[in-house]
Amino acid sequence: MRYSIIYIILLSGLLAACQKESRIPIPYDGDKIVLNSFIQPDSLIYIRVTKSKPVKEYGNLQFPALENAEVEILEDGTRLPVYWKVINGRGYYVTNAVAKEGKKYTLNVADSGLTSVSAEDSTPGKPAIKNGSAQKNTNRVRFTLTDDVAKTNYYRIRMYNAEMVGGVMVPNKKDTVKFRLDPSLNNSFIDIIGDTYYSEVMINDERVNGKEVLFVLQTSKRVSSDYMMVEVNSLNAGGYKYLQATYEQRLGGSIDLSLDASSIFSNVGNGYGIVAGINTSWLAFAVQ
């Protein structure tokens, strides 16, 4: 028994990691324009323009919006007018017209004292999904995706509990269902061996190219809602790389600089951020 006590003390020591703030100064490259926009066909284009900050920060984690920036957006070379609008307390430059599928959008932004930036992307086709289904008190949700063989496709999958409002099924976006994909489809070694569930899953079409594939999503909690909705976004390569690389940070995690100090993809020249086409399909269904 005494031996066990020594052993527990030893292992406690082994496992007891010590964490403290580092004295290493964090460098700063200076202020840069941050340009963010996911361009969804049949929707107005919302352009968020902010300024970067030093990494080390005490007291304010908000990023200042550049309200007086010169923002230009071109649709296949044709300029679209934009106006400034505050939504949910955040300022955006918004187009008057909706985006269209298969168009190329170019954004140029300038602001006094900062280097001008530009970025461009096109809007992809809509993902083809069908046959959503789930049973209550189980942890499986199924749907079918048909991949377009003619293109290289990138997808993001999310899932929500939903409710019927005025005869229309509405996703509860504050209640994202955590899930994981069948490991054979998402190419994640971690999923094979781990027990991790995600708010969103990114896949490319390497394994499903041109196929009609039944996706089986394993939820972290048993299904209890009466309705569910599956959201599948179609992306181009840039948007896919961006969402994949920023998953941890976007959803509240921290980056481990020792393990994986990889760069975040950005297609914004001279600045930070992402301009990416996105096209979303929704699948709504009643839980059985």
């Binding site: 007891a16 964490q19 970067s52 990494v55 189980t138 054979s184 020792s258 994986d260 760069s263 975040i264």
Partner: protein, 874 residues
């Protein structure tokens, strides 16, 4: 008598003294210290008018000599001076003519072994002081020395053994068996003297011998002496500051080290994520370490060779050792199967962390979910050695070792639950090796070793998930597994031919079949009966064939100049792509007065294997892959030069060495490749090939005698990499780049029973990539879906442009040994990280939304770790 006759007689009597001024009886005095023989001749001519005649092409008078002759007859003095160098002298007229004596030669060959156990001694020195010629035993304890027939005796010496004079007159054609007696039989504390052997071997071949005594003089982390840790403490070598870790030699990556266990490659050399090496120290006989001046017989890796030889087993009687510590227990038994003919050694070691009941890894949550986890490692060795005849003997050895981690989780075990759900994940990784070696002595000058071996490294994980609703039929039984494997099957023959003391020719060839299985996964939903697709790198294996030929000569060019000249050539065929290389190897040493030496080497090395590493640290999941049509073999060129000094009493040695190394076609994953990638397609589409370079200097000062021993090693080094698309295609510090590295190792013997050890390591900061700005992120197109918390992203600066702070750590241990009638017992007390230094292991950016703060945080592991181990040896 006529006047004429009288005058003639006077003339003849006086002539030598008057005309030549000297005769053989002339008394001479010659006192010179460490001067060339040529100066002896000059002195005699100047002082006594004695002129010498000789051809420089025939007679070498550059050899240095210390002479202290007072008032001796000339003939006796010359005999004393010239005879040891086989120089004949004769008087012709007024000159003394010098010529070389052509002695008939003969060859002495045989084995050097321990008198008690019959264990063959590697690197034992056989030396003729009179002829200043000698050799060392090879990896099998065999030696061959061709000398002048009138050589009367040889001296044979080895670390920790009483030197012995070997009378060779009358030795016939048969082999000799030299038995050496340990200085302390069955000692309470092993007293060793590695001075002679290490300095000699080091000088001759660039080989650094790490004896078991060196290993046991290191502090014992968690009670374990460790050969790899002793190597890490040498200059030019670094490991993880916490817990040992992988071996990085002169800026190379861990996969660039050829680790051989009885000649068989071992792909993963550590347990418990680097805390222990896989080599049980109780059965390690010798470890040779090369970091430059690679002999031509080695190939296949760029940065180092660690050649570990296991004990053969006691040929005389049974012995054993057993030890138990806080983490692991181990035992070893050796003895004769047939006395003086066949011996065996068997050993086993296992951690027993999983066998103890503890609450650290096992828990039950409030809702009844049960979690269990356990981890352990084991290894086992068996070796059998059989002597068929004086000419033939075989060695057969096998090794297996494994680390295992199991995680179990069960939920729904309570009565209220509607679903029963269990998951079980198992990880295991380890090595299997098997070796069969046949030593054959063709004749006293020609020795051959034929080896067949097999080595496998594997990483395996499986996952099972059972899901069973109580009230409905929707049972799910998911099973998945993933594994990667690297296999080598080798057949090779090595020959040693020693025609005389000035040459040792080593040559041979071999063939290696490399089988790469970089990642296979299988998934099956047993509930539905459907087999799912494989997501691995191809679900199959790639076979690569390698053939090699080599030849080298350890050549004593001059008495003061020795060289190792060799050529290693190999070819590699994989997927219809062939690569062939010629790899020249050159090592030289020039002896200066006062035991100083100059060393220099230039080597080319080729490596056909690559290790795909994800992220910033090495892990068991890393994948061995071959060179392909897209990814070329790694290729290095290394030049090094240095000086070496031994004090006259061989108490201290000092070495200073510098090196420059270039490595071509090193690889890493392209950017934006997901962590631990198992996606389909060719892995070689997902990597980028670049160049590495490293350079620096190493200093080592060692005290080798007395009750206080140890060394100070200092390394100043640079290690850089260059990849297209990273940091603008310019060189950046490699992740193992350490500018300053200081190692202090101290061993103190106290009386008969206590042995104290300490090691202190200091390293300047390691490369670190830091973010250089933070900015707002986005996840959705619609601003109405913007999350409550602003996504904060960090923009990474240039790769490895920043440094962590310096790191240091002290390890100490004390061993108390007591000899009983039949056995020796010992207690070892050790402290790892004795002053509890918090060296950072991970760096993370912490975001505290509540306080609206962001800062850089460092996480350290492995605080002070005490341990105690009890062992017995009989």
């Amino acid at each position: 008598m006529s006047l004429g006759k009288i005058l003639l007689g006077v003339l003849f009597i006086c002539l030598p003294g008057q005309v030549f001024g000297w005769d053989w009886r002339t008394k001479v005095t010659v006192v010179l210290k460490d001067r060339p023989l040529e100066e002896v001749c000059g002195l005699l001519e100047k002082e006594y008018g004695i002129r010498f005649s000789y051809s420089r092409n025939i007679v070498d008078l550059s050899r240095r000599i210390t002479v202290n002759i007072h008032n001796k007859p000339l003939k006796k003095a010359l005999e004393e001076i010239f005879d040891p160098y086989n120089i004949r002298f004769a008087r012709i007229g007024e000159q003394i003519v010098l010529t070389e004596i052509k002695h008939p030669v003969y060859t002495v060959s045989g084995y050097v072994q321990d008198i008690r156990t019959g264990e063959k001694l590697i690197g034992a020195t056989i030396y003729s002081p009179r002829q200043e010629a000698g050799t060392i035993t090879n990896q099998y304890g065999f030696f061959s020395l061709t000398l002048a027939r009138d050589t009367s005796s040889l001296w044979v010496s080895y670390i920790g053994y009483v030197p012995q004079r070997l009378a060779v007159k009358g030795v016939g054609k048969s082999q000799v068996s030299v038995v050496l007696t340990p200085k302390n039989s069955l000692p309470e504390i092993v007293v060793t003297d590695s001075v002679y052997a290490r300095s000699q071997t080091n000088l001759l071949t660039g080989r650094m011998s790490v004896s078991p005594a060196d290993v046991k003089s290191m502090p014992r982390l968690l009670g374990e002496a460790d050969v790899m840790r002793a190597i890490v403490a040498l200059p030019g070598v670094s490991g993880g500051i916490d817990g040992g870790g992988a071996l990085n030699v002169r800026g190379g990556s861990p996969d660039q080290n050829l680790v051989l266990l009885d000649g068989t490659p071992v792909f993963s050399a550590s347990h418990l994520f680097g805390i222990f090496s896989v080599f049980n120290p109780d059965i390690v006989k010798d470890a040779a370490f090369y970091k430059g001046a690679f002999p031509a017989r080695y190939g296949g890796r760029l940065s180092s060779v660690v050649d570990i030889s296991l004990k053969d087993g006691d040929m005389k009687q049974y012995h054993g050792e057993a030890a138990i510590g806080l983490i692991a227990a181990k035992a070893m038994v050796e003895g004769p199967i047939k006395k003086d003919k066949t011996s065996f050694v068997v050993s086993g070691r296992r951690s027993y962390t999983d066998l103890l009941e503890d609450n650290l890894f096992n828990s039950t949550s409030e809702n009844g979910d049960e979690n269990r986890a356990y981890v352990y490692f084991y290894d086992a060795n068996l070796k059998v050695n059989h002597i068929f005849s004086e000419r033939d003997r075989i060695h057969f050895s096998v090794y297996t070792g494994q680390d295992k981690l199991v995680l179990n989780r069960a939920s729904g075990v309570s009565q209220q639950d509607t679903v029963y759900e269990t998951t079980k994940t198992r990880f295991s990784w380890g090595n299997y090796t098997g070796t069969l070696r046949w030593n054959h002595v063709f004749n006293p000058k020609l020795f051959a070793n034929t080896t067949g071996n097999y080595s496998q490294y594997y990483f395996y994980t499986d996952y099972s998930y059972n899901y069973k609703p109580v009230s409905r039929e929707d049972t799910i039984k998911l099973f998945g597994k993933y594994y990667s494997r690297m296999q080598d099957a080798v057949i090779r023959m090595d020959l040693e031919y020693r025609p005389g003391p000035n040459h040792t020719f080593k040559f041979g060839g071999g063939a290696i079949t490399h089988i790469f299985t970089p990642g296979v996964s299988r998934f099956e939903d047993k509930g539905s009966g459907e087999k799912t697709v494989d997501t691995s790198y191809g679900a199959g294996s790639t076979v690569g064939g390698e053939v090699l030929l080599y030849a080298e000569d350890e050549w004593k060019v001059l008495p003061s100049l020795q060289m190792n000249i060799g050529l290693h050539t190999s070819g590699f065929l994989v997927q219809r792509t062939f690569y062939g290389t010629l790899q020249p190897r050159l090592g030289a040493i020039y002896r200066l007065p006062k035991n100083w030496s100059l060393k220099a080497s230039y080597t080319h090395m080729t490596q056909y294997l690559h290790l795909l590493t994800s992220g910033g640290i090495d892990s068991p999941t890393d994948l061995w892959v071959p060179s392909t049509g897209k990814v070329r073999p790694m290729y290095s060129r290394q030049a090094s030069a240095g000086v070496f000094k031994t004090t006259n009493n061989r108490m201290y040695t000092f070495s200073l060495e510098s090196y420059y190394k270039i490595m071509d076609h090193v690889i890493e994953y392209k950017e934006y490749t997901p962590f631990i990638n198992t996606s389909p397609g060719n892995w070689d589409d997902k990597v980028v090939s670049g160049r590495g370079r490293s350079y620096g200097g190493e200093i080592m000062l060692e005290k080798k005698k007395g009750t206080t021993r140890g060394w100070i090693g200092y390394t100043l080094s640079w290690s850089e990499r260059r990849f297209p698309g990273v940091n603008g295609g310019t060189y950046f510090p490699y992740k193992y780049d350490r500018r300053h590295d200081l190692e202090l190792v101290l061993n103190q013997r106290l009386g008969k029973h206590w042995d104290l050890s300490a090691s202190w390591e200091y390293t300047s900061g390691l490369p670190l990539t830091l973010p250089t700005g933070s900015y707002e992120g986005v996840g959705d197109g619609s601003p109405y879906d913007f999350p409550d918390n602003v996504p904060i992203l960090d923009w990474m600066g240039k790769r490895n442009q920043y440094r962590t702070q310096s790191m240091h750590r002290l390890d100490i241990s004390a061993t108390y040994s007591k000899k009983k009638k039949w056995w020796v017992k010992s207690w070892t007390f050790s402290l790892y990280n004795a002053y509890n230094q918090h060296n950072p292991f991970f760096f993370v950016i912490v975001t505290d939304r509540k306080k609206q703060e962001r800062y850089l945080s460092e996480i350290s592991i492995l605080p002070i770790l005490p341990s105690v181990t009890y062992s017995v040896k009989f």
